[in-house]
């Protein structure tokens, strides 16, 4: 079983990216996929949306799997692994999560073995400056945890702005592969899928 952690700040387009790529991942890789969705709100919305799109979803509302729901994540993951025997589990944490903390929690997992874990961070290109100004350090922490960074909503900024964001991320010492994309427009999603499960 492989794990794909799709993290990123609130509103960066994580759910849209999952919905836009999951069919291709399933088709291309012949993978049986289950999604674990963590919503900070008392009532999960993202999971309900995914279920309506026909995905196999386990919802974890009311907290964050990087802290308060850490042990629940381990239980949920083991339950999912034992009941569905998936090839791939996609974990979508809340947008305030610290992916490094989730990665740390996953080291305590006991259950059907995890063969690989990949951390993908979705960045909202349109709001990058605003978020970086308000939450500089936590945003850096998210980016530092990434193996792949998707600069989402590339259709909503100019090529110059996009290049500027990419340069700033690289200057901050992040080594992850950066892929500009648009989940809503379908731009570069083949590259995104390849980076996620290739």
């Amino acid at each position: 079983m492989d794990l794909l952690l799709i993290s990123g700040f609130l509103g960066s387009g994580k759910t849209t990216m999952v919905l836009s790529t999951i069919d291709e991942i399933t088709k291309r890789k012949h993978k049986k996929v289950v999604v674990i969705v963590n919503d900070f709100g008392k009532i999960g919305i993202d999971g309900k949306v995914m279920e309506k799109y026909g995905l196999k979803v386990k919802e974890m509302p009311s907290g964050c799997i990087c802290c308060t729901l850490g042990s629940d994540l381990l239980t949920t993951l083991r339950d999912v692994a034992e009941s569905f025997k998936p090839d791939l589990v996609v974990i979508e944490p809340t947008g305030v999560a610290d992916p490094e903390a989730i990665h740390g929690t996953l080291k305590l997992y006991v259950g059907p073995p995890i063969e690989s874990t990949k951390i993908v961070i979705i960045v909202d290109a349109e709001r990058y400056e605003v978020i970086a100004k308000a939450l500089e350090r936590p945003l850096k922490n998210q980016l530092k945890a990434a193996q792949v960074i998707i600069l989402n909503k590339m259709d909503r900024v100019s090529p110059e702005v996009l290049a500027g964001i990419e340069a700033r991320i690289m200057e901050s010492g992040v080594k992850a592969k950066i892929i500009p994309a648009s989940a809503t427009e379908g731009t570069n999603l083949d590259k995104v899928v390849e980076a996620m499960v290739g």
Partner: protein, 144 residues
């Protein structure tokens, strides 16, 4: 990113229309409501909108999900509604920096009242933050 001024609020709006509304009208009501919540939050002192999102279901069980991340942009919606409907259940999550929960709740109630006002619509609000959720009818002021 869970800072001291971060707040997550969940609420529900149930609307009953005297005359069944068409899908386009319902979509417009839903997107207007969350866009207004975003604008009012910023006007009332929020310094960053995290994510304001909702799922809205009609009589047929069909739904739309809408979200907004800034006061300047329109809400983005996905999903399709079919046929007219007399009822709408709207569950909202407001994730925001710089306001407290009672203020956010007041904004949600005020915004929904404003958007649904004068359309032969009866609106009920439900705070989903509490066990055994609290209800209030439109026009009824309340404290939590």
């Amino acid at each position: 990113m869970i800072t001291d001024d971060f707040v997550a609020y969940a609420g529900k709006v149930h609307a009953h229309f005297d005359r069944a509304k068409e899908p386009d009208e319902i979509r417009s009501l839903v997107s207007s409501t969350i866009s207004m919540v975003a604008k009012e939050c910023m006007k009332d002192g929020a310094h960053l909108i995290g994510h304001i999102k909702c799922i809205a279901e009609v009589d047929s069980g069909k739904y739309i999900a809408c979200s907004v991340v800034s006061a300047e942009n329109d809400a983005m919606c996905r999903g399709e509604l079919d046929g007219s409907s007399k009822n709408l259940n709207l569950i909202l999550n407001v994730l925001i920096y710089g306001l407290d929960k009672p203020k956010v709740e007041a904004i949600v109630v005020r915004s929904a009242k404003s958007v649904f006002h004068g359309k032969s619509t009866h609106v009920k609000f439900e705070n989903l933050e509490f066990e055994g959720h609290e209800h209030c009818e439109d026009g009824h002021e309340h404290d939590h």
